[in-house]
Amino acid sequence: MKNVLSIKDLRKAYGGKVAVDRISFEVGRNEIVGLLGPNGAGKTTTISMILGVLRPDSGSILIEGTDSATHRAQALGRTNFAAVYAPLPGNLTVEQNFRVFGHLYGVRGLSERIDAAIREFDLEKFRKVKCGVLSSGEQTRVALAKAMLNQPHLLLLDEPTASLDPAAAGEIRARIRDFALSGKVGVVWTSHNMYEIQEVCDRVLFLSRGRILLEGDPKTLPADHGKETLEELFIAVAREPLTLERS
């Protein structure tokens, strides 16, 4: 199976408001795909549908060829995520959270995996600390470590470095990049940090009003559309989506 994620004609509307409008895209192995767009473009709605916590109105989501609508547990067992708006339960310690989520994801050799995740994300001194008392940056690292616990084949990261200082964010980017390249992993990454996207992503999808307007290499895409930087292109997409609409 070449693609880790295949989305076809995915649509979601809340009442009369269309949040995601028949989008289709794929994520391959060892590939990091950036999902970009202004607030309300449909990024989080798309991620929520992939994670199985929001039911699409139509369309299909295949995770390594498994339809997440009909084989939810099997598809989600190969997936994991970290999002700034989904911190781990603050009333459990880091280690307890990892143990609970390790069981939820059916992780084999759980104790060893927990030790490895704690080591990788430099969390040893927080092992017995309740997540609720950690700083937002530390909580982000914990959420990322939890996202790696089951060694997912599809990793969804919704603004994963939003609460991190530049040095920590750089380290995390490098770690996720290594993780994506080392195994059979595909990553979907959303961020408003265009520098980060350009550094990390192999390909970007620009969303606006629930539709994919542009797609391509973040390093060459701005020039292809007469812009100097990815940030300029982002602003153009946000302000004038109709002039950039994908054919």
Binding site: Y14, T44, T45, S48, L51, G52, V53, L54, R55, R72, A73, Q74, L76, G77, T79, F81, A83, Y85, A86, P87, L88, P89, G90, N91, L92, T93, Q96, R99, V100, F101, G102, H103, L104, Y105, G106, K130, K146
Partner: protein
Amino acid sequence: MYFRPVIAVVLRYFYLLRGTPARWMPIFAWVAIDIVLWGFISKYLNSVTAAHLNFVPTLLGAVLLFDFFTRVMHGVAGVFLEDVWSRSFLNLFASPLTISQYLLGLVFTTTVTSLIGLTVMIVLATVAFGLSFFAYGLTLVPFLLILFLFGISLGICTAAMVLRLGPSAEWFVWPVPAIVSPFAGVFYPLSTLPQWMQFIGKLFPLSYVFEGLRTIISGGAVPAVSLLWGGCLAVAYVLLACWFFTRVYRGAMRTGILVRYTAESVS
């Protein structure tokens, strides 16, 4: 069924119990206080009424069984509410956890905690007030089973209401046993009630338990048919509650409630 996600739900609650002594209070402290209070009331009533009347088995026995039911019902809802309070829905339901595994986790957790509460109540009622609970032996098993099942069904049902209406609907959870009790004839025969209340009472499996309890205390035979009917009702309510929870969960997935679960976004 794959049980590791069920273990995760159970383990999560036992970590919470281990880390916070305050969480032990609802498991045995409130029921123990109830037993002490009603134990003394029963003793007082024994002292002011005819010599042959003994209120300990009728009153204290009823309180013990009703508190067991309450403990089960609040137990299921309480474990669910832990996820509401810690905003865990997104992390939980974005995992391979299925609804049946989640509900089973709530039930297993509650089984353990309610058995701890029951043990504390029995020991206290026996030692301090002479309630000979074990004199009835295995006869009490179907009584406890019906109470357990009905408690589970109401716990799941109220959890579904909180999921649908938002965290502020937590206030629906706590008074449910008190609302049910007048209809169920916990302390008096169902015939004491007006017809319309009797009709409602007969819909609750609790009424068969407490009518049966009074029958065996007064020396009658175990009302097997009546208990069987109560048991069938309790099983039916468990199935209905699971169906209701699943329906609400699917609705929450469709409307996006699950993703944006806060008091403000839901209510």
